[in-house]
Symmetry: D2
Subunit: 328 residues, 4 copies
C-alpha cells in the first residue's frame, strides 16, 4: 500500500521545502511575541473535554528507558544517560555515612543529552535558513546559553489535552503490527488508519497526535540496532499539510526521528522537521513507548484519552525528556 505522494518533487529538495513552508507557515498567527506555537491550539475547554475521556482510570507511561542500555551511539555527541550514585546502600551498610540514629541514604546524578530518550523537540531545536519559530534569527535565540526565547520552560504547563493514537503499524503493518524501515506514512495512510480505527480516532484542532509505527516494539524483540538515526518508518514529508490542516497541537512517534528515514529526497536531512518546527511552530515528540497503550486501545477500540506530557523544564532547553502519561 505504498502511495507515491503527488506533491513531492524529489529533484529539488530546497524548492520542495520552500513550497511546503509557504502553505503551512504559522508565523505571526499568534502574534509577534509568541513562544507557544501550535500549543496555542489547546484551550482549557479542550482539556476539560479530554479529562472526560477517562473511563477506567488506567494510567500508562509512554516513556522509554533512561539508562546506559539505550540506543544512542554517539551521533553528534549524543550518549545514553550516565547515572551515577552520590551515596549508596553499600556505603550505608559499611557505616561510612555519618548520619545519626540509624539513618542512611542514597542520592544520585545523571548526565545526559536532553534528546537521548523519550522527548519533545522544542521550538529552538530546528532552524530554516537561519530562522527559528516566528521568523526570529537563530543566532539571537539559541546561543551557548540556551534558547533565550522559546526554551522549553515557557511551555511547561501546556502539554495537557486530548491524545489520539493512530496505530498505523497495526492497521497497515506486518504480522507484528509493525511498518518496515523506510515506510513513509502519507496523508492517505493516516486517513486509512482513522477510517480503520473508527470515530475515537478523529484528529482535530488542539489534539496531541501519537503515531505508532511499531519500530520501537521491534527493538524490544530484536535489540536497538540502528534505532538512533538509522532507517525507520515515519511520517512522510507530504504529511506536513495534513498536520497543518488538522491543526494538531503536537505530534509524537515511537521512532528516533519522527519522519521516515532515509528521508524522501536523495540529499536531505530531516526536511519535515525543517518545515514543521520553525515554520509551523509544531512540537514534535520522539522515542515514545507506545506498545502498551496501543494494545489497550486495540483491545477496547478507543483511541483517544487524556494525555499529560509534561517536559522536564530545563531552562533554555531546545529539547526535553519526559515521562508522558496517558489516562484512559
Amino acid at each position: 500500500m505504498t502511495v507515491e505522494p503527488a506533491t513531492l518533487d524529489r529533484t529539488d529538495p530546497e524548492a520542495a521545502i520552500a513550497a511546503t513552508v509557504a502553505r503551512v507557515s504559522n508565523w505571526g498567527r499568534w502574534g509577534e511575541d509568541d513562544v507557544k506555537g501550535t500549543l496555542n491550539l489547546i484551550t482549557d475547554e479542550h482539556r476539560r473535554a479530554a479529562a472526560g475521556l477517562v473511563r477506567r482510570g488506567r494510567s500508562f507511561s509512554l516513556a522509554q528507558q533512561f539508562s546506559m542500555d539505550g540506543p544512542q551511539k554517539g551521533w553528534r555527541r549524543r550518549t545514553n544517560p550516565v547515572h551515577t550514585m552520590l551515596d549508596t546502600g553499600t556505603d550505608a551498610e559499611a557505616g561510612v555515612q555519618g548520619f545519626p540514629h540509624g539513618l542512611g541514604g542514597a542520592d544520585d546524578v545523571v548526565a545526559m543529552p536532553l534528546q537521548c530518550s523519550t522527548q519533545w523537540d522544542g521550538l529552538g531545536h530546528i532552524f530554516d535558513h537561519g530562522r527559528t519559530w516566528n521568523g526570529r534569527r537563530a543566532g539571537e535565540v539559541v546561543t551557548s546559553l540556551g534558547d533565550s526565547r522559546t526554551g522549553i520552560e515557557t511551555v511547561a504547563s501546556d502539554f495537557t489535552g486530548r491524545g489520539v493514537l493512530l496505530d498505523v503499524g497495526r492497521v497497515l503493518g506486518d504480522g507484528f503490527g509493525e511498518l518496515p524501515d523506510g515506510f513513509a506514512i502519507t496523508p492517505e495512510h493516516l486517513d486509512a488508519t482513522i477510517a480503520a480505527q473508527g470515530d475515537t480516532s478523529r484528529v482535530g484542532t488542539g489534539d496531541l497526535l501519537l503515531v505508532r509505527t511499531g519500530q520501537y516494539g521491534r527493538t524490544r524483540r530484536e535489540g536497538w540496532g540502528e534505532y538512533a538515526g538509522g532507517p525507520a518508518p515515519g511520517l512522510s514529508f507530504t504529511s506536513a499539510e495534513w498536520l497543518h490542516e488538522r491543526d494538531v497541537a503536537a505530534v509524537a512517534t515511537d521512532t528516533w526521528g519522527f519522519e521516515v528515514r532515509p528521508n524522501e529526497f536523495d540529499v536531505a536531512f530531516q526536511p519535515l522537521h525543517q518545515v514543521v518546527i520553525p515554520n509551523m511552530g509544531l512540537f514534535v515528540g520522539e522515542m515514545w513507548a507506545l506498545e502498551e497503550l496501543a494494545d489497550d486501545c486495540a483491545a477496547d477500540s478507543r483511541y483517544d484519552f487524556l494525555l499529560v506530557a509534561a517536559p522536564l523544564p530545563v531552562t533554555g532547553a531546545v529539547g526535553a525528556p519526559l515521562n508522558p502519561i496517558a489516562v484512559k
Copy 2:
C-alpha cells in the same frame, strides 16, 4: 498556634523513631516483592474519580526551575543543573553545521543531581538501620549501579490521581501566607487547615497530598538564601501517624526537605524521612512550586484536582526530577 506534640520524646530520638515506626510500618502489607509502597493505594477508580475533578481544564505546572540559578550550594555534591549546548543558532548562522538545504539545528545536554529541583524521593533514597522499603538490605538494593529493586522506573505510571492541597501557609501563616522557618506542621495544623479550607480538602486513601508552607514563595521575593538545607517550615515528626492513618499515596511540599528544619530532635537528620520512606513506603516530593496553584485554589475555594506527577524514569534512580501537572 504552636502545638507541642504529645508523642515526641526529644531526649531519645532513636527510641522515638523506633516507636513511631512500630506504629506506621507497612512492611509486608503488599507482599514480599512489593516495589510500589503507598502507591498501591491509588486504584484505577481513584484515577477515574480524579479525572472527574476537572472543571475548567486549566493546567498548572508545579515545577520549579531547572537551571544554574537554582538553590543548590554543593551539599553532598548536589549542584544546580549544568545545561550546555551541543549545537546552537549562532553556529547555524556562522554556517558551520553542514546540513543541506538551509537546515540548522540546536541540541543540548544536562548534568544534574536527580534531587536538585522539583523531585520525588524514591523508596531507595532513605534507609532505617540498614533496611530499605519492605525490610530489604540497603546494600543489596542500592549499589553503585543504582537501585536494583525500587528504582523510580518501577513506578513510572503510578503518580496519577487525586491531588489535594493543604495550604497551611495561607491558613496559619503571616500576611504573605507563609509559615516562618522552623515551623513544625503537626496533625493539629493539618486538621485545622482542612477545616478552614472546606470539604474539597478532605484527605483520604490514595490521595496525593500537597502541603504548601509558602517558603518557596518567599524565595521568589527574597532570593534562595538557605533554601537548600537551611531552616524551613515543614511537616513535624509527629505527622507520621496522621499520614499513615489517612493512607495517602504520596506527599509533597514546597520546601527543600519536606520536614521541618531544624529537625525536632537536638541531634537528628531528617527523622521523618527515616520513618516514612523505608518503613511506610511513602513517596515524598520536595521543591514543588505551589504558588500559582494555591492562588487558584484560594480563588475558587476548590482544593482538589487531577494530579499527574510523572517522574523522569531514570533506570535505578533513587530520586527523580519531574514536572508535576495539576488540572482543575
Copy 3:
C-alpha cells in the same frame, strides 16, 4: 611601592587596548597556519638546557585540588568538579560486583569545567573584536564543536621547558609574603623581583614564567572567599609589553584570573587577556599552587627549574586542566 604605569590611559580602555595590541601583536610571526603561538619560542635546545637545571631531583606538583571543595560558585556555569563512582569498595564488600576469584574494583567519572582549577587558557579562550589568534574569525574557529584550529590538543607536547618563578608576593608583599587584593604587578615590580631574587630569575625567550602573588596561600589559611572572580592581585595591564619584549612562552599565576582585579579600567573585563591571548598568542595559566615550590626556591635561592606542564589534551578544548610538575 605602588607604581602608576605611564602608559595606561584609564579614560579610554578600548583605545588603550588597541594601542597595546599594536605594539605586541605576533600575528603572522610564525606563519599563517600557526597554532602554537608563543610556544614556538621554546626550542629543543631550551628544553635540553632546562633539564640541566635539575640538581636534586625533587618533583613538585603545582596543581590545586580538583574537588567539590574548590572555589567555583557558578559564574558562567563554572562549577567545581563533580566526581562520582561507577563502582566502589563498599559494593565489592557487599558482594554485588560479580567478578570471579575474589577480584573487586572501583571506577569513577568526573564532570567539570575545563577551567575550574589549575589550567592553561588555550588560544581559543579569548577573542579581540571577533578575532582569535593569528587574526582568524572567532566564529570559524570556536563553535559548539569546540576549537577546530587551536584546540589544546595541538600543543599537547609543547609545555616543557625552563620554568622561572618570580615570587612577587615574597619580595613585595606583607609578612605572609602575600600581595593585597587589587595589587597590580607592573614591569617595575617584575624587574624589582628579579633583582631581589638574583641571577636564576632572569626571564628570557621561551621561558615558562610563574608569578606568585601569594593569594592562593591566603585562601589556604582563610578559606576561598571570592577567589573565583573577586578582587585579587595580578599582572597589570601594563605588563603586556614587558612579557612581549622578553618573549616568554607562557605565563601562569596562583590567582583565578592572572591579571589584577578589579581591572585597571573603570569599565573593563580582563583587558590583559584580550591583549595577550588572541594578539600575542600567549598561553596563560591560572589557579596554580605555587606555595611549596616558592618555599623551596626561597630556601635554596634558585628560582629556575625544569617545568613540565602538560595539559589534558581534550580535543578542541579552549582551556585545559593540568598537573604541572616542576623538577629542581
Copy 4:
C-alpha cells in the same frame, strides 16, 4: 616464540593468584600508613639521573585523544568524553556575550570517566578478596565519596623519573611491529626485548616501564574495533614476579587493559591487576600512545628518557587521566 609460562596452573585461577600474591606482596614494606606503593621506589637521585638522560630536548606527548571519537562503547558505563562549550566564537560574533571593548570568550566543560583514555590506575582501583593496597578493607577505603586513603591526589608529584620503553611489538611482532591480539608477554619476552634493544633498556628499581605492543598503532590504521575490552596483546600473568623482582615504580602499555586478553585462565577477569595493584601497590598505566616515542627510540637506539607522567589530581579518584611527557 610463544613460551608457556612454567608457573601458571590454568586449572585453579584462585590458587594461582594466591600463590603469586604470596611471592610478590609488598604489604607493610613501606609502613602501615603508606599510600604510595611502588612509587616509594623512585628517589630524588633517580629523578636527578633521569633528567640527565635528556640529550636533545625533544618532548613527546604519550596521550591518546580525549574526545567522543574514542574507543569506549559503554562497558560499565564508560563513555567517551563529552566536551561541550559554555561560550563560543559563534556567540561572540553574534554579539550576545555582553563583554565590553570588543572582548569575547569561549569556555568549556567535560564529562568523562577517569579511565576513558590515557590513564593511571590508582591503588584504589582493584581489590583482592575485599582488600585494597596494604591490606586495608575495600569498603573502608573506597566509598561513593571516592578513595579516602589512596586517592590519586596523594601521588600527584610522584610520577617523575626514568622511563624505559620495551618495544616488544617491534622486537617480536609482525611487519608493522605489532603483536597479535591474545599474545601474552612473558618474562622471557621482556628479557628478549631488553637484549635486542641494548643497554639503555635495562629495567631496575624505580623505573617507569612502558611496554609497547603495537595494538594502538593498529587502531590508527584500522579503527578502534574492540580496543576497549576486546582481545589484545598484553602482559602475561606470569610477568608479576618479573615486575616485582625488578622493583619498577610503575608500568604502562598502549592497550586498554595492560594484561593479555583474553586472560590466561578460562574463567578470570584481569587476574594480573588483582595481583599487582592491591598486593604489590603497583601503578598501572593504560591506553598510552607510544608510537611516536617508539619510532624515535628505534631511530636513535636509546630507550630510556625522562618521563613526567603527572595524573590529573582529582581528589579521591581511583584512576586518573593524564598527558604523559617523555623528554629525550
